[in-house]
Symmetry: C3
Subunit: 334 residues, 3 copies
């Protein structure tokens, strides 16, 4: 049942160069440590080069310069990770979900579900929302009012679109994500908070991916926007009226405060925080656990993260740091 391909076939299909036995058959992919003779491994991160010596893989996707470290067959790629990603997709078993509406789903009378969409168990779809062809709404999802789920979107399970959320084609959202909740808008009035109505929505472009338990608030007046091909990992928080440029990727647990604009092709490391009301240029890299408080106007790499070290040594450095800025801590010539 599983597909098999020769190395020659894979090379032709993905524009790679065969080294060794072009007729060797591959029926799956695996790590260097576990791959067997019908499986393909890959080497992208040089950290793992030492595993080549003992690998039993039938062939390995690698860069030409790593070839001397490997005695077997290989597929030579300029970017082995990307090549591997595309090859691995051949071996991914995906069950086609049948189109149609599960009898336990609850659909508002004026919602529109394309006959070629699939609505799974315990889903609810609110007033005036539209689910387009090929969209797959997994079990337990809640789609509120005035939402659009574009063609071929996948909401894996237990995703919430609160209201006025529009998804472009092929958007994929993982479980627990909440898109379109009220932005956090408060004004103090006579000693009590009053809520600022959140009248905007969320607009998400084609091919975006949104991780598990990530939250993206809807805008106060205008929309919160993700342009196409934005990739968000798990547990990310995006405040209201943020705009994220195309092809930008963020690792887990990033938080972006309201009204900030982030450029295209940015990469934001895990746990980073970004203040509100600032602008970040295209192709900026923010390293993990950093905190961006000011606009960044050109493609640079920024950081404020501190690597952990022995706690006692760290406490001593910290004591000195706290003295900096006091008279005693100033250097003699200041």
């Amino acid at each position: 049942m599983a597909a098999t391909y020769t190395l020659d076939e894979l090379a032709t299909r993905f524009g790679l160069v065969v080294h060794g036995q072009g007729k060797h058959l591959i029926s799956g992919v695996a790590t260097l440590a576990k791959a067997q003779c019908q499986q393909l491994g890959f080497l992208a991160n040089p950290h793992y080069r030492r595993e080549l010596a003992n690998s039993q893989a039938g062939a390995i996707v690698l860069r030409r310069e790593d070839l001397p470290h490997w005695s077997g067959s290989a597929l030579i790629a300029r970017d082995p990770y990307s090549a591997f990603a595309r090859i691995a997709a051949l071996f991914e078993v995906t069950e086609g979900s049948q189109s149609g509406i599960h009898p336990s789903a609850v659909i508002a009378p004026d919602a529109v579900i394309d006959p070629a969409a699939s609505i799974d168990a315990h889903v609810s779809v609110g007033a005036r929302s539209r689910i387009q062809a090929g969209a797959r709404i997994g079990p337990g999802c809640v789609i509120g009012e005035d939402c659009v789920v574009g063609p071929e979107c996948t909401l894996v399970a237990r995703v919430t679109l609160v209201c006025r959320v529009a998804l472009g084609p092929r958007v994929r959202i993982h479980p627990g994500a909440v898109i379109g909740a009220d932005g956090f808008g408060l004004a103090m009035h006579e000693g009590h908070w009053i809520k600022v109505p959140q009248l905007g929505g969320v607009s998400i472009g084609a091919d975006c991916e949104i991780g598990a338990n990530t939250t993206i608030d809807r805008g106060a007046l205008d929309d919160t926007v993700l342009e196409e091909d934005v990739r968000l990992d798990n547990q990310i928080q995006i405040g209201h009226n943020v705009v994220i440029g195309a092809h930008t990727a963020m690792a887990g647990c990033v938080a972006v405060a309201g009204s900030t604009r982030i450029g295209r092709y940015c990469q934001i490391g895990g746990g980073a925080g970004i203040s509100g009301h600032i602008e970040i240029a295209d192709k900026v890299t923010v390293l993990a656990k950093s905190f961006v408080t000011h606009s960044i106007l050109s493609a640079t790499v920024v950081s404020s993260a501190i690597p952990a070290r022995d706690a006692k040594a760290w406490r001593r450095s910290l004591a000195q740091l706290n003295r900096l800025g006091t008279d005693r801590g100033r250097s003699p010539r200041d």
Copy 2:
């Protein structure tokens, strides 16, 4: 169908002063950049003052000192953001949910649902829980055992109240929030963790708001407590037995460890962490991404956040910081 108001009417209703055409009709609100002639804009953050010049808004809510920068009609307010919040609420379309219990909901025989409450699709309500008049339980919510949902509360969708959670009037909880899960209590016994039973509950006062995917654990013995009008953004974590004073607000991704007491009217910036077993006075401000490790006894502003900058320059500072506290790094007179 949409309401319209003259500037004079809005001024009277909200205690503002009209500048310009009091008879001008307003039918909605928008940003300075997008507002059209029947729409009202606002200027609160001076950062956006430059947008006044090109705004097409029919009128703008602003401070008297900003009037010289704007040539059109205006509503003059001491706090334009608060005034705007109250005006915008006039234009918010909210669909009245019908009271009653959706047929797909599953209600324990001894739960009590007020006839004027609304229970949406795929909700479950556990033993001995009570849902009071005007409460709206959105689709996919799970209410466990021994909970009380007060009058006029809104649980938007997919909210979980685990057990022994009591909500006062008008509490609003966003999707994915989990209130009343077991606190994280562990004791090591013979090389294996044993779980400390979490016998308390959670008590949430009137008018609190709780963001998407925020978690508030129930107490080990006493309750975890939010007093009235506490406002929590998304993805906040509140440990067991924390007490948060009235009118305190926290931005996204804050974490508060167990048994800490936080005062009234505090403001906690996004991503801040607060250690367990400490006390924070009233009106304390914790800046974003800071880490509070000791009690704070008076109304102050505290921080330990570091703004990101060029990664290479930061690495050099860090190398010096790590030398502080070693002999080589000490200043000559130490």
Copy 3:
């Protein structure tokens, strides 16, 4: 209906020493501040010793050295917290859930549900998944394809197991947790992200506990692994192919990036971050809010957290820190 025990009975059962009235009856547990004469309090954290003077508790679990501060009856323990945890469990009321499948649950035809398992309202179970004896699947849970829920597991409510997730015996998972979502694997190809298929699963050992809204991604090729008795608090993010050793505990909001291996008996403080592709030895302690960027090869305590202090003083220290590493900031002898 509630059980009662004499101090003598409790001492015998848990290997403790009675001080005072061994026949005194105890019918519950409470804090030192609230315990009444039939209730047992405990003193583990010396921070609370001052509460002994006014406690009305019928008896207190404490260390022998705290006895002079308390005039009433006591149970003397070497580890009062652990003793209290085991005693408190006697007084925890847990409702036995009936085994069987709620009529609103949706079970794939080829899923296997043990007759002694309990499946609550609005649950769905996917193809080829197996739910073993004594497992309790609470309301709103989604179990995807090819999962195994071991004997006596508890999924409290609204838990998602996406696919290829295997739980050992007695695993407990709190609401909103998402186990087995796609790892965050992306490769850039011709200016567009392509998704790296995530072909592995998640393997979770016996007695693990996983907090509310925590996310654990499934592996890219091999599995993501939690060995036995791992304890994760709320809102933790575990990347794909992470391995966490037995008995390791993590407080709330920790994030671990992909392919990192963490040893046994580690303790990771709240909000800490751990980079990908590193190794952490057994019995390492990472203090709260620290960021581990390199492998740690022996049992040590590491930190990079900075305690917050007065914001103005902090800004002055920070200005000096930023000058370190520039010529002006260097000390004279560098």
